[in-house]
């Protein structure tokens, strides 16, 4: 299986461990990721908040590059990039006049033949799940997890084309496949505050504090994520939240691909634990996993 790969800026910076673990897992599963040549930033929250045409054009440039590279499927691990690329594709389909303007802005044609998939949508496909099941070397037995999807993988469904947008199961299926003691909770798709973190960290602390408290209520020991913004917002502010009595305890935040790599016995994943602000090693060692 060959898939074009759009890492996005976060995966080359603040979320390197997501990039590396995604590549490890895909390689082991025979999914050939081909990094999109010459990719540029999708514009993220700041573009769509301030300049509509800019936001569609920045994202569409990457869709056009994928088409130019004769790819059919483009996978995106970052939920924010995923949603921006999906939204650009949707807007250009719905509005032919806009599509014409965008093509002239990006100076490249785009026929709309690219299928954009979040990486968890690929990994949770039944045949890939079966491959994962037979590659498990270290079941994540007794590791109590909750899966947190956040906003932009699932919403809005007219753009993302996700059916179970109020209760997505992609990561839950994956965690159960690798033997984790995965918990149900009601906060899967609540917001972590996304791009407000730098200018309004008080909002981020309030929303992520609720998420971490509810994860604890669900008796989870770690939160499994698939978005670099969710990861940063949940991982980086736990010292302050604990000191202020806003969360009962600190809890590691792990990318779903890191846990898949761990369960599949990929040793190199061990080098990624030190990237986390909340160190997952004490938890993983206590389960005999690291």
């Amino acid at each position: 299986m060959k898939v074009a790969y759009y890492p996005g800026c976060s995966l080359h910076g603040t979320a390197e461990e997501y990039d590396e673990s995604t590549q490890m897992v895909c390689e082991a599963l025979g999914i050939e990721l081909k990094e999109l040549d010459d990719w540029s930033c999708c514009g993220a929250t700041s573009a769509h908040c301030t300049n509509d045409k800019l936001s569609v054009a920045l994202a569409a440039r990457n869709l056009a590059l994928a088409e130019k590279g004769q790819h059919k499927t483009l996978t995106v691990p970052c939920s924010a990039c995923f949603q921006r690329l999906k939204a650009a594709d949707y807007r250009m389909r719905e509005d032919k006049q806009l599509a014409g303007e965008i093509v002239s802005l990006i100076e490249m044609p785009y026929a709309g033949n690219i299928e954009v998939l979040q990486i968890i949508q690929i990994l949770a496909q039944p045949e890939i799940v079966e491959k994962i099941r037979v590659s498990v070397k270290k079941p994540l037995k007794d590791l109590k997890s909750v899966c947190y999807y956040g906003c932009l993988t699932v919403r809005p469904p007219k753009v993302t084309k996700v059916g179970d947008y109020e209760d997505p199961m992609y990561m839950d299926v994956l965690m159960e496949t690798v033997g984790a003691d995965n918990r149900f909770w009601s906060y899967k798709t609540e917001c972590c505050s996304g791009g407000l973190a730098m200018a309004r960290s008080d909002i981020t602390k309030r929303l992520s504090g609720v998420l971490l408290t509810m994860a604890d209520e669900a008796d989870a020991e770690c939160v499994v994520v698939s978005c670099p913004m969710c990861h940063a917002n949940l991982d980086t502010r736990q010292n302050a939240l604990l000191a202020e009595g806003k969360i009962p305890r600190k809890m590691p935040i792990l990318y779903v691909t890191e846990l898949l790599a761990l369960a599949m016995g990929i040793k190199e994943v061990g080098a990624l634990w030190s990237k986390h602000l909340v160190d997952p090693r004490p938890l993983l060692s206590s389960k005999g996993l690291a």
Binding site: H48, C49, A57, L58, C191, G194, A199, L277
Partner: protein, 183 residues
């Protein structure tokens, strides 16, 4: 919300049409069911609830809407858009209102959020990709909030999550042209 008298002269009959044209969404279809507002995770930070903003766009309260805090603290989580029974793309309406507020010079509150967006986009415009260090530096220069989150920044830098040097792309000139043509 406190009842307030509104003079006919305050109402701008063009606002609704302008926002509907920009967003291709039927803002006038709102029947005030309040699903958008009851599910909004940022409602507690807002001066007007999302449903009130939609009503105000319908009425033509241009200045009140464009000067509101609501449009800036909206996190674009898309819960409102997803749940609206009348298929109003409320999150996209918020985008259109922010852009209109910026272009008409009416944006008033939450200046730091605008500094953040500006710093973020400036990094993309320069390199074609985000360079966190430049973005953070520019934001701090604009806001003067040098020590805020310095502890987190230090921890991320130690872990190699914030790079000294920017990563760029061959297409950065093409990206720059997109910025120029849409400015």
């Amino acid at each position: 919300m406190q009842a307030k008298e509104i003079a006919q002269s305050q109402l701008d009959s063009k606002l609704l049409e302008e926002i509907e044209n920009k967003t291709h969404t039927k803002v006038s279809a709102c029947f005030q069911c309040l699903k958008c507002s009851s599910g909004c995770p940022l409602a507690y930070e807002m001066d007007y609830l999302p449903a009130q903003i939609i009503r105000m766009v319908n009425m033509g309260l241009r200045d009140e809407v464009l000067r509101s805090r609501t449009i800036w603290v909206c996190a674009s989580c898309e819960t409102c858009t997803t749940r609206c029974p009348n298929d109003i793309d409320i999150a996209h309406v918020m985008d259109a209102l922010r852009e209109t507020a910026l272009r008409s010079g009416k944006a008033e509150t939450e200046e730091n959020l605008r500094h953040f967006h500006e710093a973020f986009l400036s990094a993309i415009k320069t390199w074609g990709r985000v360079h966190e260090l430049q973005m953070i530096g520019m934001y701090k220069l604009k806001t003067g909030r040098f020590m805020e989150d310095a502890d987190i920044g230090k921890e991320m830098f130690k872990r190699g999550k914030i790079k000294l040097l920017p990563e760029t792309t061959r297409g950065r000139r093409a990206v720059k042209r997109i910025f120029k043509k849409t400015s």
